[in-house]
């Protein structure tokens, strides 16, 4: 693994050529293939794609959370700029001890289902306290309570005493998801990874969570990696969009440009198939379904579903083309 001395200015996290695979029945199932990703200070990036495209695996890979028996991340680097020393560390290469200092402290994760991210038989108080004590050895009980109260307040959970004395099942899904956002921010992380944080919730609750997230972002100067299959949701919060298809990035662009003029045919049809309020008549959709990463060995993975594809697309894998802040992997695109 290489050491890196400098990163582009303003950049806080940079994933370089990340590949990941899972082990299943003696075989290695590829999930991510040489994914490049970068996050600037105070920026929010959205990662979109269909299920199985590797977007959750990417979230787990950035924190090296993939179980060693189940899979591995290989071949890439994850550079992270530490606040304290302005030093750049490679998350992919650091030892376990150092890694634990980053996880939950510098970078934290909020997952899809709040009921499985909390321990169901322990009151929230002890779970918050544990998360705090790991990174604040010898802390004062008073400081902890002040920190928790102010966080619970910023996610609109009152009164903190009552919330902390509850078991997870005593809170509704929306409340618990807000509690898990508060817990993620307990140790003042600079990066929050939110993996489909609203997809198990009702629509009105979803709106509240999105508002909370936007509020927290400006309150704590967070950089956010927001993962969702819903591009409309991503458009509400993200400054830049990454589109993943079959384990690879097929397009990256600033939101303002992406939603107006997507370059990759997959992005374009994905945008067309979004539901629209009150739009009656024929519903546009993408024919077929997304292949497993690595299932298509030759050519462009999207070619079989693409209306622009010709012989060339089935033979050659499209490289990433770059122009300004935009990148896309298509032989036929712009």
């Amino acid at each position: 693994m290489s050491e890196k001395q400098s990163m582009p200015s303003g950049c806080i996290l940079e994933g370089e050529k990340l590949s990941a695979e899972y082990f299943s029945a003696g075989k290695n199932i590829p999930v991510l293939k040489e994914v490049d990703i970068s996050l600037k200070e105070r920026e929010c990036i959205g990662i979109a794609g269909e299920s199985g495209c590797g977007k959750s695996t990417l979230a787990l890979s950035l924190l090296r959370l993939i179980d060693e028996d189940e899979g591995r991340v290989f071949g890439g680097n994850i550079f992270f700029r530490e606040k304290k020393h302005e030093e750049i560390i490679n998350i992919a290469a650091v030892d376990k001890h150092r890694l634990l200092k980053v996880r939950g402290k510098e970078i934290s994760l909020v997952t899809q289902d709040p009921y499985t991210s909390f321990n169901p038989v322990i009151k929230l108080y002890r779970q918050f306290r544990e998360a705090y004590s790991v990174h604040n050895p010898g802390f004062e009980e008073k400081d902890f309570f002040l920190r928790v109260s102010s966080l619970l307040e910023s996610v609109n959970l009152y009164p903190p005493e009552k919330i902390l004395q509850s078991y997870p099942h005593q809170l509704s899904g929306g409340m618990l998801q807000r509690a898990s956002l508060a817990m993620a921010l307990l140790n003042e992380p600079r990066i929050l990874i939110a993996d489909e944080p609203t997809s198990s919730l009702d629509v009105t609750i979803q709106k509240k969570i999105m508002e909370t997230l936007k509020n927290l972002r400006s309150l704590y100067n967070l950089s956010i990696i927001f993962i969702s299959h819903d591009l409309n949701l991503i458009s509400e919060i993200a400054d830049r969009v990454y589109v993943l298809y079959a384990g690879k990035v097929v397009e990256t662009a600033p939101s303002a440009e992406f939603f107006k003029d997507p370059y990759h045919p997959y992005s374009a049809v994905l945008l067309k198939s979004l539901p629209k309020l009150g739009a009656r008549g024929r519903i546009a959709s993408i024919p077929g379904r997304a292949p497993q990463p690595g299932a298509i060995k030759k050519g462009c993975a999207f070619a079989p579903r693409c209306s622009y594809a010709d012989g060339e697309c089935f033979r050659n894998e499209p490289p990433l083309t770059r122009s300004g802040e935009r990148e896309w992997a298509c032989l036929k695109g712009k």
Binding site: K207, N232, S255, F259, L271, L277, G278, R280, S285, R289
Partner: protein, 258 residues
């Protein structure tokens, strides 16, 4: 003409406490009225706990209402022996609603047999193929098992199974909420085509008013077991009168760039 009318439907669930003692009851539906016209798609929208799935189960006689009546073709419905129910259901979870131990062919053969009252062994492959054609799965192998299919394909199989019974009404309970957005669009389009080409009326249930608005001709908005608003789909979307409906519409994510 209405093919189905629900009048003042109420459903109480008794909550059982320790050793079966009655510890209270939950009013899942409180006096719900609705109508399904021929060839219509009625969209039912509401959040979790609003009673929309209970209503779907009552329409299919999977639950009996505590009070109120269902009127099919202007007659109170009592159920006929040996005959398939006029309303057939497509369930939310395509992974859980298909028997994993049955081949797709056998599952559909059973359904066709129940719909036509012919013994299973007399059902020909053609009849099963015809059912699969309706849902765009004409090329699959009949000896494959549900786990060999993707979520979207499984939901198509669920729809095929419901159609095999020649229903008068198709009841879809959150048929797309477990699916990816791109697959969701495919299934919505399929339901729309079944409705417009075969003229089968549909009751379409979802928690997402955006999805409901794309497919329904009329919309019923439910909250806590009550009907909050009911009427023509375009009217409700363009000028909602109930505060709750407005809240649902406002909760739809708005893309600021489009």
């Amino acid at each position: 003409m209405n093919i189905l009318e629900g009048k003042d439907i109420t459903k109480l669930f008794i909550r059982e406490g320790f050793l079966g003692s009655r510890s209270g009851c939950v009013e899942a539906l409180k006096g719900v009225d609705f109508k399904v016209g021929s060839g219509e798609i009625l969209g039912i929208v509401g959040e979790s706990g609003s009673g929309k799935s209970t209503l779907a189960r009552i329409i299919c006689s999977l639950e009996t209402p505590t009070s109120g009546s269902l009127i099919w073709d202007e007659k109170v419905f009592k159920g006929e022996k040996r005959k398939a129910h006029p309303a057939q259901m497509v369930f939310q979870n395509p992974y859980g609603s298909l028997n994993p131990k049955l081949t797709v062919g056998y599952m559909l053969r059973e359904a066709v047999s129940a719909g036509s009252l012919k013994p299973i062994r007399n059902i020909k492959e053609d009849e099963i193929r015809k059912v699969l054609e309706n849902v765009g799965l004409e090329e699959i192998s009949l000896v494959s098992y549900p786990h060999q299919f993707s979520g979207g394909q499984k939901q198509r199989l669920g729809i095929a199974r419901a159609l095999a019974l020649n229903p008068r009404l198709l009841v879809c309970d959150e048929p797309v909420s477990a699916l990816d957005i791109s697959v969701q669009a495919q299934i919505l389009e399929l339901i729309r085509l079944i409705n417009s080409e075969k003229g089968i009326p549909v009751v379409f249930i979802a928690h997402d008013i955006e999805v409901v608005s794309m497919i329904s001709s009329s919309i019923l908005v439910m909250k806590d077991g009550r009907v909050v608003e009911y009427g023509d789909a375009a009217n409700i979307i363009n000028s909602p009168s109930a505060a709750y409906t407005r809240k649902l519409i406002e909760a739809v994510p708005v893309n600021p760039y489009m």
